[in-house]
Point group: C2
Chain length 236, copies 2
DNA sequence: CGCCTTGTGTACGCTAGCGTGCCGACGCTT
DNA sequence: AAGCGTCGGCACGCTAGCGTACACAAGGCG
């Protein structure tokens, strides 16, 4: 029981809820282990469950014409997956891919919607979270268009580190290429550049962040902007 | 009075509402004329009014680092401006620029939120609209990244034509360049290509769509996908 | 009428990133 | 220990689009 309580507090959207809401949440959620590469939703799937990651994290990916892919959002312990249920829409336009293994709290869609009716604080918080997601989507569109691979890679590594809470990330260049919508060779060049600058070290499927402040410097301002927006809207 | 009624039906989000909701809406809205180039919201502005365009339309633009700009959404008679109020957030992350002159219905933010409490059909419809906007934002990010200027320009002209309901659009290459986040010269080349293919004709600030089916062919599939999504979510 | 602002055509060299393909190195499996 | 699949480095020519700049044309205005 205390482990669930602890787990609950481990997702930022659920932290410091009124105890009545937290109890109601705990009563209907279960804890699941997400494994790397698991696909939680396919585009146009009906959402059957929502997820609140604890130490896992999930990439949300647009698929264009069956071949081009691009990550447009990420959900870790600061967020959730299945946010469109807040709008009473049980569908998602994005592919949800588990990108960091770990635990998540899961709730059945119907129970979740029922819960929201009696959990005004959580409901309001999720609406704010949705606003943040929308803003970040809009910013990402511009970031992806205007910024260079190296800056975007730095940003992506920082965002991932925040969610993984580890300096060591298990990632291949191939995978990063898919996330950023670029060539594998493009990632290699950017990674070499970041390594040469002493910001990261990497080796066959593992990337280690050495100099986080330096990496923030190397990333486009979108990273800090994103963090600032989240804090402003959700931490007030 | 009948003119307001007519105007009301002229925005698709308001069409065929239960008469009680429509009456309530009409009681608190007023009709305003929007002029070309008018800025309705600045990023991080507090939203004081929401707008339901009738024959006007509005570009929503991300501003990155004070200099790079990119249109990420458009609101015409099929949509509204100020949608984040549906989430009880009276703020917008985007610049809202009147891009097609014309009429719009305007409501004070507080009245609008009050109205939503007693207008379940409208409320539900706006939540669906918000879902469409989110999906389109995600798709746009990928479209902007993967598709070439010519395809994007074709798509943009089609979207604009839908909202302007005219074959003749008052647009300069300069303006289009800002919308698509590219060079003015890049637009000129794309426009020449489309004109050579007999799809459009243009002349000093005016673009005329000659062959709409051909233009749909020339545009990326994102155009028809967007339309299909709107229809699926809002017309069911 | 001529001026001047605005819009468009075009040309220059340049850069980021593409598609592709190949090689070598790592490390897991047998 | 050998073999093989995966991963990363690198190189090739190529393209889209960039920044810039300049010239010309259209059309509003004095």
């Amino acid at each position: 029981m205390t482990s669930i309580l602890h787990a609950c507090a481990a997702n930022q959207l659920l932290a410091e809820l009124p105890s009545a809401e937290q109890d109601a949440f705990m009563a209907i959620c279960d804890t699941v282990q997400l494994t790397f590469g698991e696909v939680l939703f396919q585009p146009t799937d009906t959402i059957t469950h929502v997820y609140f990651p604890i130490d896992s994290f999930i990439s949300q990916i647009v698929i264009l014409n069956m071949d081009s892919r691009l990550e447009v959002a990420m959900a870790g312990r600061e967020g959730m997956l299945g946010i469109s249920l807040v709008l009473d829409i049980a569908e998602t336009p994005l592919l949800a891919l588990v990108q960091g293994e770990g635990l998540a709290l899961r709730i059945n869609a119907a129970s979740f919607q029922q819960l929201l009716l009696n959990a005004p604080v959580l409901h309001q918080r999720l609406k704010r979270y949705l606003y943040v997601v929308i803003s970040q989507l809009a910013n990402s569109a511009a970031c992806i268009h205007f910024h260079r691979i190296e800056e975007r890679l730095a940003r992506w590594l920082l965002m991932t580190q925040d969610r993984a809470k580890s300096d060591s990330l298990q990632l291949t260049h191939e995978f990063l290429a898919m996330m950023l919508g670029v060539r594998r060779a493009g990632i290699t060049l950017a990674a070499i550049a970041l390594q040469t600058r002493g910001l990261i070290r990497y080796h066959r499927g593992e990337i280690i962040i050495i100099d986080r402040p330096g990496l923030i410097e190397a990333a486009c301002k979108c990273y800090t902007d994103d963090c600032a927006l989240y804090t402003k809207v959700l931490m007030l």
